[in-house]
């Protein structure tokens, strides 16, 4: 094949790819519009209106929630913030620390148990018993230990993050090929700590990061769930608005949560690609 032919093929391929992208975006738009149309028809045909709030009502509610301000008082300073931003901020105050602590502890415990057989034997029964308990079931302890508020929501999110990341670490370590450990040994890596730092964690990193990505989404669901029980934030707004039959506002906050998730996922995937540049 001559260079010219090769160029022609490359151009054809990239044109095809561009067309493919256009086609996919087009189909996505058509699908979304069709579903929104169905939603609008359904909303218009039920009564009373709060049973299914229509797209317009939801859009109006979104605008209201971003326009109306509420004061935020921190350390005696008062700032006025759009209500939706404030609520999202409160949700993040549960989500971020819960996720961070849960993920680090979970992945760390998973790596330790995956690496040390005795620890694995010691803790596996407990893991088997505790793992199937849905994080939200712990709400009862969250309430008696921390009260209905920020602490309890952080705790619930932490539990959710712990288990997902636990398995990321555990499975990742279990899958580290023996021959990599043997090479490291024959090159003078002696201590467990050295082996974990130089071989085990880097080799398990793809699995750890995939689990972390899953926990990003799952913890967002969990934090909203935890707030339904009364901790301030987006979740509480969803139930609070519904209690006043302002269902459009509830749906508006649901959409806020899903946009946050889309944004986080895109950002995280980009970061992950950079971190795992070496992966085939």
């Amino acid at each position: 094949m001559s260079l010219q032919d090769a160029n022609a093929v490359t151009t054809a391929v990239s044109e095809h790819l561009e067309w493919e992208t256009v086609r996919r975006i087009g189909f996505g738009l058509v699908g979304t519009l069709a579903l929104t149309g169905l939603w609008a028809i359904a909303a218009a045909s039920v009564s009373p209106g709060y049973l299914i709030p229509g797209p317009r009502a939801v859009a109006a509610a979104l605008v209201t929630e971003f326009r109306a301000t509420e004061p935020l008082v921190t350390l005696g300073f008062r700032t006025d913030l759009p209500r939706a931003i404030l609520k999202l901020g409160q949700t993040f105050a549960h989500y971020v620390p819960g996720l961070a602590v849960g993920a680090v502890l979970g992945a760390g415990t998973g790596v330790a148990m995956g690496w040390d057989e005795r620890l694995d034997d010691l803790l596996t029964p407990a893991v088997r018993v505790l793992r199937p308990i849905p994080p939200l079931a712990w709400i009862v302890f969250a309430i008696v230990w921390f009260g209905i508020g920020h602490g309890g929501a952080v705790f619930i999110v932490g539990i959710g993050a712990f288990w997902i990341n636990f398995y990321g670490g555990y499975d990742g370590v279990r899958d580290v090929p023996d021959h990599l450990l043997e090479v490291a040994e024959s090159l003078g890596t002696r201590s467990d700590f050295g082996m974990i730092r130089l071989v085990v964690v880097p080799a398990a990193l793809p699995s750890i990061l995939t689990a972390f990505r899953t926990s990003l989404g799952r913890c967002l669901m969990i934090v909203v769930g935890a707030e339904l029980f009364g901790a301030p934030g987006v979740g509480f707004e969803i139930i609070n608005a519904a209690n006043n039959l302002a269902m459009a506002t509830s749906v508006a906050y649901m959409l806020v949560i899903s946009s946050v998730h889309i944004g986080l996922d895109v950002l995280y995937r980009r970061a992950e690609r950079r971190l795992l540049e070496w992966q085939p």
Binding site: P177, H179, L180, E182, V183, A184, E185, S186, L187, G188, T189, R190, G194, L198, V199, P202, A203, L205, E277, W278, Q279, P280
Partner: protein, 247 residues
């Protein structure tokens, strides 16, 4: 004193039934010698090499390297595996450097040493490439450089060219001989390809399945290098090894 001494080595696998891999194996490898261990798959040659490396324990007998009994893996025995075993998250340079960063090893100028080794295996220009960007032959060159970095007394190679295409394989054999000449390393090389063993080794140790105690044969290859595979003397040695295996 010999570099490697293998004394009355025996390996029995405890499974559902006891399987004897080999017994009463004795041989010495002199300093700077290139020894190939050949035999069919399942004859225990890889197990024997893994015992030399310290990854497995013999059932009885012992291995001495420079007079010291082998009990665990160590930087005095460099290992090269068939599946390359590069650290995929490290670049070529970082892979070669792995052993030098361990406190176990000291060198005056590690960066220069790494550069020298990359040059030795002919990978200049690929210092910052990740293993995924390399061909099989290039990966195995990195693995050799990485093993040589800590200056081991013996290089142990387990079918290193086993998953490399025939043409590249011949070139790698020539390169390995060149590296061997330049570094003066002692090499124990496991293969099931008889011509490969005859092309490389000073001495070929032959192992057979169920051949009773000891090695099946030890055949000296006193041919000048580079060796031509069409040379009658060469084909004669290949036939001699094959005879032992077929008898």
């Amino acid at each position: 004193m010999s570099r490697v001494r293998v004394r009355d080595l025996e390996k029995v696998y405890d499974g559902t039934q006891e399987i004897q891999a080999f017994s009463a194996v004795n041989f010495d490898v002199e300093s700077g010698e290139f020894v190939c261990l050949v035999g069919p798959s399942g004859c225990g040659k890889t197990t024997l090499l893994r015992i030399l490396a310290g990854f497995e324990e013999p059932t009885s007998g012992e291995v001495l390297v420079d007079g010291e009994p082998v009990e665990e893996p160590g930087i005095d025995r460099g290992m090269v595996f068939q599946e390359y075993s590069l650290f995929p998250w490290r670049t070529v340079e970082e892979n070669v450097r792995f052993g030098l960063d361990r406190p176990a090893c000291e060198c005056a100028d590690c960066t220069a040493r790494v550069a020298g080794l990359i040059d030795l295996v002919g990978l200049d220009g690929f210092e910052t490439a990740y293993p995924k960007e390399l061909s099989g032959g290039m990966k195995q060159r990195v693995a050799v450089a990485r093993a040589l970095a800590v200056d081991p007394a013996v290089l142990l190679m387990d079918e290193p060219f086993g998953s490399i295409d025939a043409r590249t394989r011949n070139r790698l054999q020539t390169e390995l001989l060149d590296i061997w000449r330049r570094t003066g390393k002692t090499i124990v090389f496991v293969t099931h390809e008889i011509p490969e063993a005859v092309a490389l080794a000073d001495r070929v140790l032959v192992m057979r399945r169920d051949s009773g105690p000891g090695l099946a044969a030890s055949i000296d290859i006193e041919l000048e290098r580079p060796r031509s595979r069409t040379d009658p003397a060469f084909t004669e040695r290949v036939a001699a090894v094959r005879n032992v295996l077929d008898s």
